[in-house]
Symmetry: D3
Subunit: 242 residues, 6 copies
């Protein structure tokens, strides 16, 4: 059995594809075949709610196409989890959001976790998501790094030093026992940093991918995925909008 899983960079640039593909290649299961795609058009980052809207149509198209082509799961590769509910409504295979899956896994790794986001702008939606996912009680804090998404790859050293600083502060001042990196571009260095800081640094690309592998595996073996009763009920074909 080979599991096919799609990782969507829901942005109109291929700037992150190689970074993500390399990381997935390093950590994926042997029996899993990853595909990394980006969108033909749209902003280069999703720091704004409006930008999420701009990319949602094409993101959902990618998810639906993957299901038709026999994929067993898809990851929508942005820590805002854009389109997660919409995608789950449209398809039956598991769809994974980095924020949801990473926060869930962080819950089993320590008493409380802190999320290191790029900018203060992001805090409101991250807290909204944590609250909506019912996980606020496990959230120690959300700390902005003062870095934009588009700066993260080019200014790698600045990213790393700010992650070091804020992770230490979260552990010492906010009671965090686990650190969650709050952007899919803020990734690829979690294992080294975990060893260095002696506290689990959780990478949303790694974790959402591993979570997707788990869900794809369960789906392939048992046919179990998200519920289609209630919130994820599919729109009826006869209404003509699918």
């Amino acid at each position: 059995m080979t599991l096919k899983i799609l990782f969507i960079n829901p942005v109109g640039t291929d700037a992150y594809d190689a970074h993500i593909a390399t990381l997935l290649g390093r950590i994926k299961r042997d029996d899993v075949e990853p595909t990394v795609v980006h969108l033909a058009k749209g902003p280069e980052h999703l720091e704004y709610h409006f930008y999420e809207h701009l990319v949602m149509g094409d993101t959902l198209k990618e998810v639906r196409r993957a299901e038709k082509e026999g994929y067993q799961a898809a990851v929508i590769g942005c820590f805002y989890d854009p389109g997660l509910r919409e995608a789950r409504e449209l398809v039956s295979m598991p769809v994974v959001g980095p924020a949801e899956s990473t926060m869930l896994v962080a819950c089993s790794l320590g008493h409380k976790f802190s999320i290191l986001v790029g900018r203060r702008k992001w805090v409101a939606k991250m807290e909204d998501n944590a609250r909506m996912y019912g996980l606020s009680d496990r959230l120690a804090s959300i700390r902005p790094l003062g870095i934009k998404v588009v700066e993260m790859l080019p200014e790698h050293d600045r990213l790393l030093s700010s992650v070091r600083r804020e992770a230490a502060a979260a552990v010492e001042e906010d009671g965090a026992e686990v650190i969650v990196l709050g952007c899919t571009v803020e990734s690829g260095f979690s294992d080294q940093l975990s060893r260095e800081l002696k506290v689990p640094i959780i990478d949303p690309v790694v974790t959402s991918w591993k979570y997707a592998e788990m869900q794809a595996d369960i789906y392939a073996r048992l046919g179990i995925s998200h519920s289609k009763v209630g919130g994820y009920e599919r729109p009826p074909d006869e209404e003509g909008w699918l």
Copy 2:
């Protein structure tokens, strides 16, 4: 001073415009000039997350156009509050969501409120919104009527009898002191029904409109609207997506 406020029916049909316009005409302030619009294309209802996505682009265009044309506020006329965060990011004038404003007002009318939604499908998002708005503690229950949006106007008597039945059950069994009608089409009869059932039945069109009048008034007099620090920070013009 005349306040101009836009009421958007965020659907691709004019089927609700007259109903809404008549209702607004009956309850609006004398110094307020209402405009009711619908979208050129899109589903006739928004019972699915995906449909919300389909209409969001045009809804946001209407909100932005209104601000440019000197409106003081806009109501996005669907009880899912589609695009509320996105719209507030894009404009400075107040944008009102029927669910948010009606739940807030319901909080000052009694100890707990119940929401009567059309179908069970809606419950998940309504509860998510109540949780995200921080209002879960005031929510007695969400009860589905077993009626689709598109059936509400044509099958008015069935709508009314099911509202009577579920409102009574919410008051007697769930501890509700206030009843919120959970769809903008489920509107126009709240005053008669309140008298009949001797409990406040809150109409989301009336309440969101009155809330919008209040916010437009404050905005016109004092310049105060939603915060642009944090969650509603506006995307920068220079990124070219506005």
Copy 3:
């Protein structure tokens, strides 16, 4: 239609009447006729629970007299919301509390709000109220200014500079996107300060008044006010205590 609304300064001094009347005159609707009253006796401020008790009887008399004289709403002008439940039990017209109405409106203006109260003494009851109103999740912090009620008008500059300092700290350190001024005497400068600090500063006199205008308008048009089922059930006349 002219709406008559009463603003009660629930203290035994006329020291705040002119200040409030001027502010209301500046921001009221054209079709609204405000009356500002104070009590014949009682403390000059309500910083203590006991003082709330001392003024409650006369405050309730004012509310009941207003209803008899055809008013459509009353505001009990203290941020502790003294007598709010008692008043709603006794009358059918809307009764507005500055804390309740201002916190509710603040919820639609940003992700989280901070309240700037006069002294630490006040924090316990403010937090109790926020919890009782079900709004704790939206509360970023409560910060004391270190100023008594009776010092606020005479020491206006000290008041303003401490509001500036604590508002900035709430935005930068506590994650507030909206600032609520936590005393009805801490009022009259919110528009200038909002522009200066580039974050909404919410005035409890303005907001409770605008909320009362909205509720009075709905009550006059549709007869809808707070529920008389449950918590606000009226004592029976035949028991002889009304």
Copy 4:
């Protein structure tokens, strides 16, 4: 050491004094001297917020007089806990509310408790109190018996049979492991009923009295009572209102 503790029936009738005195006599510590008082005027019950206001002044006078006369604690004998915060502000000796103390003790007797109140009217304030005390998570349900306070002693059999019925329903349907009797007049039979129903039935008179004995004892030995920092800060004598 003899501990003097006051039990106030905060109503304008002596109708409950003998009932309470007999009950206290049966369960009090040997080294405790109880005094039961009622007020000279006021309603015979406190089912309405307004009635709480009517008796608060005289209730607070009793509490203050007791402290002056060397009492070590006072119980304000109504399950609404009327005047609890006000009394703690005014005196240093412990003041006990039946609802607060009984809910706290119920927390150590089982996973969740249900409160059996007289009428639906009471539910809103009971839930408000549970929320304000931070105990909502332990509350299984509040069930009204459909009985007024003034009917409880005269119609003892009806009271008992409705308590039996609702207690059983709370255990079977709501998950209660402990039953709290939600009125000080709903008292005197908890031990027999606990044996009969094989579940702890908690009497608010017994429990608040035992809690008061405990607090009086700690206060007499160690001088420790409620905090005077923050919410219970005492009004300054020089303001002249004490």
Copy 5:
């Protein structure tokens, strides 16, 4: 890479070993080598807190032995999650509890989940765990089946029919979109039942195993496991109790 994972039946009987081993054999990853063990002594079920204590010592020994022998993860196979915190304190490899992992995964499968436990006795600890894990907001209900652990395998048909009945009731009456089977012996039929009832029925053996595979995989590749800062800090060897 082959991952070795231990599944402990923390009871003094081999009665469940074959059942579990068969189930794991059916759903495990190809590159994973499962071992199922039981304890030499102890009760046949853990329906009582005291029984959890009785088996904890030997359970922890198994976990520690597994780590020494090169296992990458262990599952403590009881839905009470007995010894989860203790085990994580003692070892560095991931330790998985069926309740924690299954509730976390259920969160990504639907809006709310219900847990079907054997008897009412279990409800208190299950709710305590849900609360402690911070997941109460996602829990629709806990429904007892009226079946003891030791009856589940012998009376398979009764188990199945009661699961069918309570699952349907949870979906229809409690708002559950996902059903969690609340006992590791209540397992092995979730895929058939999910198809039959058209709602995800989540098997705690399958889910905890898949979660353990995911965590073992992450641990093997990146060295990341639960935090050793704070709650899971290991007792110092020099104290001599390890």
Copy 6:
């Protein structure tokens, strides 16, 4: 009537017995006969979950022996409340945990309380307990003193000065109105310190003892103790594990 109450130091050392016995002798009721015991073997402190397991068996034996010998209550003398649920399952007389009882009493002494624990390690379980007891909303903060249990008696001055420092910080920075000493060895000086710091410092030995006296008294007079319905249901004798 003489009430016999057992205080168990659940550690394998007599190092704390004299300290506790002296303190209890100073504050106990005249009609109460205290017994202080320690265990024959086990660690000298319980800073680790595993150590709690190591002493649980002997602790439960002491509790059960006390019940057989006619005691009316027992206190398990560690602020982690080890074995509290297990003990309540096994016996009918009240069993008191220092953390549970002290947090409950702290709730009636001020708006919010802070707990001063020995080391950061302890915070996770203390927060878990507060959450499980449903008391998180009343918890201002948990502050570690940086002191081990075994250092507390020998380094009394260091203990005292760190309590002074952190208590002041909790009051000034975290909004605490009450300070809870979070270890039974951190005891014996609460009255002096309360006077010195002018804020209630709550001693877990004193408070759990007084709470046990109250519960023993109620149990002796009325037969009321914790519920045996649900969570504390006793294992059946016939299963042979008691």
